[in-house]
């Protein structure tokens, strides 16, 4: 086990990422801290995509020629790599999708429409991303099911001891994020899946923010569904993964209709294909899946544990530095605040002034890319009584020096907008 703090990856791996070596403004080298929105790609992934397009590309499946066979082999190899990455029992439990959002919608429409009825309850958490909220709201509207929320402490930790208040036999689904993209909370996935199963509910883990950073083992988690996106873990944009337990996927009706997902098509009806094709209608993101496979190879070679330890070192440094800034409010649980580490490698905060967007703009001028806004968690922001926050999110290529630049720059920003008894003078150009 890699120790959680004081471990840093060798900064030389930055050389793998061509995009990082640039000045975004004259003399301002890029400090990319917007990884929770989307990560950058190593040369290995870009090369895999280019190699596919320059040497091996053709449509997959059914093609009886060399290129189609090469593409099919590479596409199916990516599926097996994903299976290994998730420790899934079967390769056909891995469905390639357009992303996390597409995966959740597939479950909501296919499993949801077939299994959820009026009065059933769908249990979510107050920290979900809109992508793990809206599909369930839509399902509730179609079926008459009821949306419920797990209790959560003020510092953004789910209160498992109060789970009984909301988790009952009426609960049909427990859907939650493994890591909050705003709070940085790491949720107790295993315990939640176990509790869900105990009442006969199906569990869906939104791993968009965990898969890039923490080891994923769907069998150990005991989840029924798990989703993530390629673009957040060094992979291409436009590809993602839906994992589903074989028995569930098999009993679910197909969702999107089209080529590949069929066995036989008649004049006005069809019979569906076997897994995984059943849920992969149309030409899939071929180069995307192949690039995703290369990304998983890249991360696995470094080791997810080491990546998590590296990021934990960065977030501890960021947390202690940022908390020195007057007027700042840091969101989510403090790193190392309890025995159980539940803090992922990102930190969101609010300054008394200026607004999050001004902070992002001023940091950008110093080369630092952060995200400002509601991060697709409006209900969470409402609950915290804020309209927006600023988020710095780290990945394997970030360095302590970058964290220090963030802290220093933020100190300056806060200083710049401190009330100084200014008086409006009318327009300068007047």
């Amino acid at each position: 086990m890699v120790p959680l703090t004081d471990f840093l990856l060798d900064a030389s791996l930055r050389d793998d990422f061509p995009l990082l070596a640039q000045d975004v403004h004259p003399g301002q080298p890029l400090v990319f801290l917007d990884n929770a929105a989307s990560s950058q790609r190593p040369r290995q992934v870009i090369d895999a995509i280019v190699h596919c397009y320059e040497h091996d590309y053709a449509n997959v499946h059914r093609g009886i020629h060399v290129l189609s066979e090469r593409s099919t082999d590479a596409y199916e190899l990516a599926r097996r790599k994903t299976q290994a990455f998730l420790a899934a029992e079967h390769a056909h439990e891995v469905i390639f999708t357009a992303g996390t959002t597409a995966g959740i919608n597939t479950v909501a429409r296919s499993w949801g429409d077939a299994n959820v009825h009026a009065g059933d309850e769908l249990l979510l958490t107050p920290m979900e991303h809109h992508s793990n909220l809206v599909p369930w709201f839509q399902l509730a509207e179609r079926t008459g099911a009821v949306i419920r929320h797990m209790p959560m402490s003020d510092d953004g930790v789910l209160q498992l001891d109060r789970l009984d208040e909301v988790l009952t036999e009426r609960t049909k689904l427990v859907a939650f994020t493994a890591v909050s993209n705003t709070l940085g909370t790491i949720n107790p996935v295993e315990a939640l899946c176990r509790r869900a199963r105990a009442v006969g509910a199906v569990s869906l883990v939104d791993a968009a923010q965990s898969a890039p950073h923490l080891t994923t083992n769907v069998q150990q988690m005991g989840c029924d569904f798990l989703v993530f996106s390629g673009h957040k873990l060094c992979g291409p944009s436009g590809v993602g993964v839906l994992y589903g337990r074989e028995t569930l996927l098999e009993t679910m009706p197909p969702f999107l209709g089209g080529g590949s997902m069929i066995n036989r098509v008649y004049d006005d009806r069809f019979t569906p294909a076997d897994l995984p094709a059943k849920f992969e209608a149309g030409t899939p993101p071929i180069a995307g899946a192949i690039g995703l496979g290369a990304a998983l190879d890249y991360l696995t070679a470094i080791g997810l544990e080491r990546i998590a330890a590296h990021e934990h070192t960065l977030v501890e440094r960021a947390w202690s530095g940022l908390s020195q800034i007057a007027g700042i409010r840091l969101l989510g649980p403090a790193p190392g605040g309890s025995d159980d580490p539940c803090r992922a490698g990102l930190v969101s905060f609010v300054l008394d002034r200026p607004h999050a967007h001004d902070i992002a703009q001023l940091l950008d001028r110093r080369g630092i890319a952060v995200r400002a806004g509601h991060h697709c968690t409006q209900p969470l922001h409402d609950r915290m009584g804020i309209a927006a926050s600023t988020r710095a999110s780290f990945y394997l290529y970030n360095t302590p020096a970058e964290v220090d630049l963030l802290i220093a720059a933020l100190g300056e920003v806060r200083e710049r907008f401190r009330p100084t008894g200014r008086r409006r003078r009318g327009r300068i150009d007047a």
Binding site: H355, H357, G373, A388, R423
Partner: protein
Amino acid sequence: MPSEEEIYQEHILDHYEDPFHNGPLLDATHAHHDKNPLCGDVVRIALKLDPAGKIEDCAFEGDGCVISQASASMLLEALCGKTVDEVKAFTAEDMLKLYGPRLTPNRQKCCLLSWRVIQQAVYSPVER
């Protein structure tokens, strides 16, 4: 930071810290509010129009980024005392020019929030 592109020029910070007519307007005849869903910026503008359609008094309340709040202050300062027709003739272009620094499309939305609100406010009598 190239100073000619400086978004947060001194006069803008002045408006942010010491805004023109910031607060409620008790005897408003017209009012409207809106928000910028992406940013969470909110602006409410209240106007007191005289029978001839002149803005006798006005005020704004709001919350959000420097650009959205300073621009609201600048807008009211510029249009207070003007007629409804002059408000209508005041274009989005004019607003961006009034603000001054060049803005990316993303931030133009912040700057134009109060402009959108006042254009609506002149059509929105307060119900009593």
